[in-house]
Subunit: 307 residues, 4 copies
Amino acid sequence: MEEALLTSSAAGVYVICPTPFESDGRVDVASTDRMVEAYLKAGATGLTILGIMGEAPKLAADEALSFARQVIATVAGRVPIIVGVSAAGFAAMSGLSSKVMDAGAAGVMIAPPSTLKTDDQIVSYYADAVEAIGADVPWVIQDYPLTTNVVMTPKVIMRIIEQSPSCVMLKHEDWPGLDKITTLRRASDAGQARRVSILCGNGGMFLPFEMERGADGAMTGYAYPEMLVGVVNLINQGKRKEAHDLFDRHLPLVRYETQPGVGLAVRKYVLKRRGIIASDTLRKPGPKLSPETIAEIEWLMERIERS
Amino acid sequence: MEEALLTSSAAGVYVICPTPFESDGRVDVASTDRMVEAYLKAGATGLTILGIMGEAPKLAADEALSFARQVIATVAGRVPIIVGVSAAGFAAMSGLSSKVMDAGAAGVMIAPPSTLKTDDQIVSYYADAVEAIGADVPWVIQDYPLTTNVVMTPKVIMRIIEQSPSCVMLKHEDWPGLDKITTLRRASDAGQARRVSILCGNGGMFLPFEMERGADGAMTGYAYPEMLVGVVNLINQGKRKEAHDLFDRHLPLVRYETQPGVGLAVRKYVLKRRGIIASDTLRKPGPKLSPETIAEIEWLMERIERS
Amino acid sequence: MEEALLTSSAAGVYVICPTPFESDGRVDVASTDRMVEAYLKAGATGLTILGIMGEAPKLAADEALSFARQVIATVAGRVPIIVGVSAAGFAAMSGLSSKVMDAGAAGVMIAPPSTLKTDDQIVSYYADAVEAIGADVPWVIQDYPLTTNVVMTPKVIMRIIEQSPSCVMLKHEDWPGLDKITTLRRASDAGQARRVSILCGNGGMFLPFEMERGADGAMTGYAYPEMLVGVVNLINQGKRKEAHDLFDRHLPLVRYETQPGVGLAVRKYVLKRRGIIASDTLRKPGPKLSPETIAEIEWLMERIERS
Amino acid sequence: MEEALLTSSAAGVYVICPTPFESDGRVDVASTDRMVEAYLKAGATGLTILGIMGEAPKLAADEALSFARQVIATVAGRVPIIVGVSAAGFAAMSGLSSKVMDAGAAGVMIAPPSTLKTDDQIVSYYADAVEAIGADVPWVIQDYPLTTNVVMTPKVIMRIIEQSPSCVMLKHEDWPGLDKITTLRRASDAGQARRVSILCGNGGMFLPFEMERGADGAMTGYAYPEMLVGVVNLINQGKRKEAHDLFDRHLPLVRYETQPGVGLAVRKYVLKRRGIIASDTLRKPGPKLSPETIAEIEWLMERIERS
């Protein structure tokens, strides 16, 4: 398949896709298609699949590949697709990466393993990872210390970008992370570092400020992705107040959805309630929503939809 | 001094006090008094000092004690005062605890050290801690896994409450933590556990829901504590919508202030801007606010104060 | 294939097999066969493959399966084979487990993921794991906190054994861990817990004492497995002094081989020098032995072989 | 008091002193004197007190200071004394440091707090620490990742040495750590880094090799410190075989004593049995030796003393 590859000028909203399951745990093919169309309709400029919030580690290798192929086929080139290929070893990473790139993915995303401790270990890990996937595959650094326990300074990120011309994007979800964006942008503006795309994750909790600090957009999976698209567009149009107003209306649910562990269950519940996926099933191990939690989500949804 | 001791019926808002420093790093005595009065005026039903957000580990033993004595003297019995006595060892914990109780504190608060791993280790640590401070000193469990790395299940918390009659309160700041409140309240309602006060921390990020789940109030240090007081009162009055409306207006800043590490610097900046403390100095090691960060705080303050 | 299944009466020395690679990183089929024969000749009563020291996470799914099938075919029923099936998710675990059991493995081994924190989380994880592999597959708990960061108390281990009749063995490599063996054995002797086989890992660093505390043998991969076999046999024959004398002669190299990270490289070097495998290649990421390290290994080998 | 300050030419064996307690937990003054004399008689060229193995965090501030003063008075200038001043904050560190230096200590030792993650955080922490203790106080980097969770690359250590002329020693206890010594020595030999003293900890587990890699001696607390002295001297005299023979006779107990947590209890038991301290009491939280453990220690002592 002839697809465009991911470049460092990527911008907008790359929606992090959950993997929809049927209530018995099988991948839900029909919901997958419906979800993809819903995200495109919401204004997604790209999709990211098989990430941490896509329950990628819970899929068998062949399930992951089938899911990726289906999404790529459904999107049919309308937007670029990034595939998470983080793995416990380079053989698995390399295998998945080459298969999804062959299938038409635009690039891959790699999070560091939690065993990395020092700056040099991180830089060296990414050198090995690039060797594993091949220097011609565009790829994204996932910087998510809350989950990975790996803290990357701006200097480390710049060393990785420097050593690997195929690194085209930073998925930024450090916390706190706003000054990191400023530092990276200042460095690329001053010609001290190559400029890569910065898309922000972390549930979107700081999206308006992240845009103002120099991010190019969002890569996260909030259950109303049209809000993310709206905020990115408003900021790009210089409508600061409107961007924050829109964002703040959603912040109560954004906050609720970024609770570690339970957040994905919340997101899937909202997507189900919005008719986007058929079931909010998570594979084990995963939390079950209590009746109290469901009532709180309903309350939050109602307040958003009324406003 | 004759002061009332903390009991399990404590409720309302116990404001977590930062320790004000002058710009050269000395404890700022005048700001301390002004801050205490401001918190009482805002409706605090208690104060908590020398906690993690009070930079307690950065104070020398004599500084900590002087600060505690000053706050206790200023409050002069108007509300109970809880003193954080978490320490690397029981000798230091015991020493500080007995001195502040003698000085008129209502109780002490103890966070678990990050070395604890198993359920039994946690329970046993608290047994030793109670032996160290004495069984007659009312005390608070601080359950804050994001910082301590110690995860306490409801079952473990109930074992601690069961083994120590002098444990009168849970400072709840697990994340996610709403179902934990429900579980603990259901157990005490069913007579399976002693009922202790539950005050919620975590910057107040979930306060209205926490109240609805059965918490008795907040113990956190948001820079507009009158909002915390308002939310607690509104929920207690059954005014759910008004409580959420008030809370949601502040949520953008609450979220900004709960950024790990930089959050305390944000809080001190707002307190300075509100005229409550003279300087936003943190002792080392601590972050410095960038100009961009300050501009964002100003933006958030303006939106709150306008609304 | 009709093979005997692993039972709780397993004893002796189950050698942890490294995965031999050619210098270009491919699995070395010829060395695999030679290694298997060498281990059987050394007196192994079982083999364990695809464990942490087998670089299992660095193998692609099909490589892992091929390797397992080859070892099973080579052994041809002479001793039971345990296959490590620890995985980031239950789909992968289940897939590998059913394939190797079909191929003739005697049982599987499961280490807990480092995300588990509380007692209940650990117990619950193993319930889910057993559901994933099927209740008819005999399996081994791997208790290795130094690597997994998961600390299991004896009580937790007994809960897991209690909830899963198909759990037949504990691979014990807690550190310190001697009293844990005593506690578990005392409980099973007193009828408070089902007796499972306990084989000890951790490089064999405490093997004679572990045997004396009630272990049934070793499951580790020291490069002179005949020493492990000798110690186990001598202890079983009541020859305490001879057992310790034999062990102590090897302890300098045992200690050298249990250095985290570099230990496997040391082990592979010794196996290569002894003619058991052709190359000491590790897959990335993995350490390279310095000339100084090699000289130290040679010194230690010489002292052992001279004694 | 006029005492010599610690310099980068320090060598030999600095014995890590436990803090002797009476059975009721008070500091045991008489045992302290006896222990100091025993260590000097064993050939110690220095003493280190109030380290991790000195249960320093379990002492109240005044107890720690009294203990330090007593040891300094007893030693009376015969050898230099290093005092551990690691603390949760710089105020406490600075206070203890200035008091013990006034009392006649030769230098202080500082371990990094477990919250440090990146290279720059570590380097910056030590800059702040030096500011806290004063640039005129000679000090020691404690590099002990197994306990601190902070991994320092050779590059980071060299940056710390470079930025602080008062840093005169590395207490090396990384694991694995032999190549780190070689790297640091190669750098100082090549003039790329200032040469500081390297004394090795980690219970002495690799002492002969560490000496051969370029260390200047040991700083650890094995209960037969005369062995450490012997090994250091033999290596310095070029008697490699004799050094290893001596070391290997003790290795079974060295290994037993380096078990995390229980190791200090083992060490105190042996010191008590050797008549050096009166009680093997540890302050809480601390392990209790089981009868089986005591029998094993006795077995190991007997084998050493017979040989």
